[in-house]
């Protein structure tokens, strides 16, 4: 069987090889697809902290993805119309600067995750899934009715936001920005999983009663994981909005939450590169099968079914011969 670190290296090398090909062959659309892979993977890496390590099956992560997206959309739309953002007590200028937008996206999603987590983590199992879904839907319907920012039609941003020292209008350069963000998130995931916090969180997923009897609070561990998770997914949302230069309520849709879970299950729950492999496969299927038939989700469903039935550890589990993320 193949060692997991070889698989991880191959995936990263594969993405960079496709990038090199796309640059040499001058195929900007391929770079855009790769950027899409990278951003979806980033969002799923965020979810993987809650789902993979903490066992929190959140069907509401689109809320954070959408909040990140709308953070970008709102700030950039005020900047492009030169109208300040009126917050009642004070006004803020809009901005076209990615670092500022990211900071806002991360803070807002972390705050939302804190509140949602505080309320949802009282429940477990199916109830947790349902309550996170409900929160996601609340944001979805709110965004539809929020006509100030496009309502159902969404918001278009005419020029991609800027990053110091990078020409984000060049697809390869914007990809590089997203790819670095993904790599940083992967490093964070890796360190987190091996840290004292990761060990305690992992135990809180398996035996919460044990974690309590050693004097730790399993719910607080899960809440912190949920906040970090939401913040990363929020950052991905801001990047996704910048990729499309468009924000709409679909970023809040529960299908997106489901897709993030599917990405992780396909790649391998709790595995470092699980979300990345899942995102590669997902976007590849969406692109190729989507070109052949509108019903390509059926084939995604078949793959998911096969994996759930025969390869519980996802593709990484299948290749390494180890079903669990651990040991």
């Amino acid at each position: 069987m193949i060692a997991e670190r070889w698989i991880n290296g191959t995936v990263i090398a594969g993405i960079l090889a496709v990038l090199a090909y796309a640059i040499l062959a001058d195929e900007p659309f391929t770079i855009t697809l790769l950027t899409r892979v990278t951003i979806l993977a980033l969002a799923a890496v965020g979810l993987n902290i809650a789902l993979g390590i903490g066992g929190l099956v959140s069907l509401g992560h689109a809320a954070f993805f959408g909040l990140g997206g709308y953070a970008m959309g709102i700030l950039a739309s005020h900047a492009q119309t030169f109208t300040p953002l009126d917050l009642g007590l004070f006004t803020l200028p809009g901005t076209k600067s990615m670092p500022v937008i990211w900071l806002v996206a991360v803070i807002i999603s972390a705050l939302a995750a804190w509140i949602i987590g505080l309320l949802s983590l009282r429940t477990t199992g199916v109830y947790f899934i349902m309550i996170t879904l409900a929160f996601g839907q609340m944001f979805f319907y709110f965004s539809i009715s929020w006509s100030a920012y496009g309502g159902e039609d969404g918001l278009s941003i005419y020029v991609r936001n800027g990053f110091p020292g990078v020409n984000t209008l060049v697809p390869a350069q914007f990809f590089a920005v997203c790819f670095v963000a993904l790599c940083l998130a992967l490093v964070l995931f890796h360190r987190l999983q091996a840290s004292p916090f990761g060990l305690a969180l992992n135990a809180a997923r398996q035996v919460p009663e044990r974690v309590e009897t050693v004097g730790l609070n399993p719910m607080r561990l899960k809440l912190v994981a949920f906040i970090i998770s939401g913040a990363i997914t929020g950052l991905a949302g801001a990047l996704f909005a910048d990729l499309n230069r468009f924000v709409s309520p679909t970023m809040f849709s529960w299908q997106l939450s489901g897709e993030l879970i599917v990405l992780i299950i396909i790649g391998g729950v709790g595995r470092l590169m699980g979300p990345v492999i899942g995102a590669c496969l997902f976007v590849a299927l969406e692109h190729w099968l989507g070109g052949l038939t509108d019903f390509w989700h059926i084939w995604l469903g078949v793959i998911l079914l096969v994996i759930v039935l025969f390869a519980r550890g996802g593709l990484i589990g299948l290749l390494t011969g180890k079903e669990g993320a651990h040991v």
């Binding site: 360190r191 091996a194 004292p196 974690v211 004097g215």
Partner: protein
């Protein structure tokens, strides 16, 4: 008698019409093993849950080291020095033996909020965990997945996790459950030595172990204490014989 390390005063817990704990007052003195026995359904598990914080009593209170801890949750009581083992092993089965012990060490240090440094490279936590594993003879299995341990080894690990906390009191829910004759004997001699570190409230079905270890025995029937006394008292008590040990004893 000196100040008890652990005591309950008039604990009561009802589930509908069933009185699972009926005015139970027991105490645990320094250096002793106090066994709680009783037939199935006598309310032993309910009593443990109230002592450890998983269940709130309807009336009465629990005192740990002279402090009323009735309002504290499980986590806070553990921090006050209550070390508990479970009847059915509550261990992270996917993790290694060492990682389970390290969880205890993280709890003892009270610092799970470290997100960056690999836990296995933390020598303090590691040493504390390894020391506990060594005491229950699991050193050579430290790298094994907990799910791959034998039943007896899991019982040992269960005790090791409690040891990492250096508790002031042990509350052990059937540590001998499912152990063979040999395993029971080993565990018995281990617990015998452990009482010098911290007293043990021992709920146990294995009568050989109870009679060998206990300084005092409390007999619980239908949630009520029907007798408390030395091994000799309990063996001779007519009420206990009738209610619990049966004709043959």
């Amino acid at each position: 008698m000196s100040e008890p390390v652990l005591a309950t005063h008039g604990l009561c817990k009802r589930f509908g019409a069933l009185s699972a704990t009926d005015n139970v007052s027991i105490d645990l003195q320094p250096g002793e093993i106090h066994a709680v026995i009783g037939p199935n359904g006598a309310g032993k598990s309910t009593l443990i849950a109230q002592i450890c914080g998983g269940l709130r009593p309807d009336a009465g209170r629990v005192e740990l080291l002279g402090r009323d801890v009735s309002q504290l949750n499980t986590k806070a009581r553990a921090q006050q020095g209550l070390g508990r083992t479970f009847q059915i092993s509550a261990l992270a089965m996917e993790d290694t033996v060492l990682e389970n012990a390290i969880l205890g060490a993280i709890g003892a240090a009270g610092r799970p909020w470290r997100f960056w440094r690999p836990v296995l490279k933390d020598t303090d936590l590691r040493e504390r965990a390894m020391a506990a594993l060594e005491r229950v003879d699991l050193t050579e299995h430290a790298g094994k997945r907990t799910a791959d341990l034998s039943h007896g080894q899991r019982r040992q690990l269960e005790v090791a996790v409690a040891l990492t906390l250096s508790p002031k009191v042990f509350v052990m829910d059937e540590p001998m459950a499912g152990l063979g004759a040999e395993g029971s004997k080993q565990m018995t001699s281990f617990l015998d030595g452990l009482r010098r570190e911290a007293p043990i409230l021992l709920v146990e079905h294995d009568m050989d172990a109870v009679f060998a270890l206990a300084d005092r025995i409390t007999v619980l029937v239908y949630g009520r204490v029907i007798a408390t006394g030395s091994v000799k008292d309990i063996r001779q008590s007519a009420a206990v014989k009738e209610a619990y040990l049966g004709e043959s004893a």
